[in-house]
Amino acid sequence: MPELSRRRALTAAAAVTGAALVAVPAARADDHQHDSHGSPDSFDEVYKGRRIQGRPTEGGGHHHGGGYGVYVDGVELHVMRNADGTWISVVSHYDPVPTPRAAARAAVDELQGARLVPFPVG
């Protein structure tokens, strides 16, 4: 994990997302997610000034998260579910975390305000 704590959010200074300068406090959604045997719950929150969302997807061919999509400011983050139920993403590929929300937050930490490049489909 990066040296920054979640609460020491970068907030406005680094949160340049596309053209917009977003100044929103760190995570506001309650983290009550359960990693059930099926697909994890959806989530939608602003974390360190970035909107992160996760939701089950409808049979998308390139979703290695097992039919689960994660988005940072609307751009899909490639995530993958490991055999033991942990998750990784393409920007934090070698460091499994417990949930897709944790993978999204790890991605925001890693990005330090940078935009995500959509991964190629097909």
Partner: protein, 274 residues
């Protein structure tokens, strides 16, 4: 014959030639093709589907072939160059000579992770990060930030002592040597080193950092050490395994080589310790 040496024992001339050859591959566009190939397999290899480059038995032969391709490309630029390896269980500090400005350059600055010295710093002008997963086009590192410690020699020994090459289900959930070396299970060797370096090395486009090759050259050397320690242990699985590269099955993207063809590294190179 190519001799792969410990990076710590390279002469300044050897370092200079290695760096110049890498920069030339970058200029010619060949370097970025390696990054693209690696990320394609990172995205495509899954625990419950087809898996070739990672999280599977062929992690080791796949990277052996990938490094051979890269080393041959370097040698087409300068025939005297061989891939050095980084023994991170010994050279475990950000103050190691590996990270000096005459070789790979050091860690990134705290503000944005940007590497500010050495031949691969953005300011040196020869190292644009083109194949990327985010908007940043400069090399980044955060040595020791993502995880404090590199693996120790004792941890390496504990993995080398595992006599079985790999086990079902042949993925990130497996027991055995391969998955402990790769790091999805147990003390975590290979994966942890990626995290320790940080920056692009922690992502699917990890070959953007030239240390990728030195890290994998050492992982490859550990495979060779394991073979010497367990002469009766073979690559597994031997055949008939869906989604997994068996001993005599060809590997993508080359489709002309099998794990069996790659078991003996001495057909291609030796190590300074051989």
């Amino acid at each position: 014959m190519t001799v792969r040496k410990n990076q710590a024992s390279l002469t300044s001339d050897e370092k200079r030639r290695f760096v110049a050859a890498v920069l030339q591959l970058k200029r010619s566009g060949r370097y970025d093709a390696f990054v693209t190939t690696h990320n394609g397999f990172i995205l495509g290899d899954t625990d419950n589907g087809e898996r070739t480059g990672h999280r599977s038995p062929s992690f080791l032969p796949w990277h052996r072939r990938f490094l051979l391709e890269f080393e041959r490309a370097l040698q087409a630029v300068d025939a005297s160059v061989a891939l050095p390896y980084w023994d991170w269980s010994t050279d475990r500090s950000p103050r190691s000579s590996l990270w000096a400005p005459d070789f790979l350059g050091g860690s990134g600055r705290s503000r944005d992770g940007q590497v500010m010295d050495g031949p691969f710093a953005a300011s040196a002008g020869g190292w644009a990060v083109n194949v990327r997963v985010d908007g940043r086009g400069y090399l980044r590192r955060a040595l020791g930030a993502g995880v404090r410690e590199l693996p120790t020699r004792a941890e390496v020994e504990s993995v080398l002592s595992m006599a079985t090459y790999d086990m079902a289900p042949w993925n990130s959930g497996s027991d055995g040597f391969r998955n402990h070396l790769e790091g999805w299970r147990g003390v975590n060797l290979h994966n942890r080193v990626h995290v320790w370096v940080g920056g692009q090395m922690a992502t699917g486009v990890s070959p953007n950092d030239p240390v990728f090759w030195l890290h994998h050259a050492y992982i490859d050397k550990l495979w060779a050490q394991w073979q010497r320690r367990h002469p009766g242990s073979a690559y597994l699985p031997g055949g008939g395994t869906p989604d997994v590269v068996d001993l005599h099955e060809t590997m993508k993207p080359w489709n002309d080589t099998t794990p069996a063809d790659l078991l003996d590294h001495t057909a291609h190179y030796t190590f300074d310790t051989d």
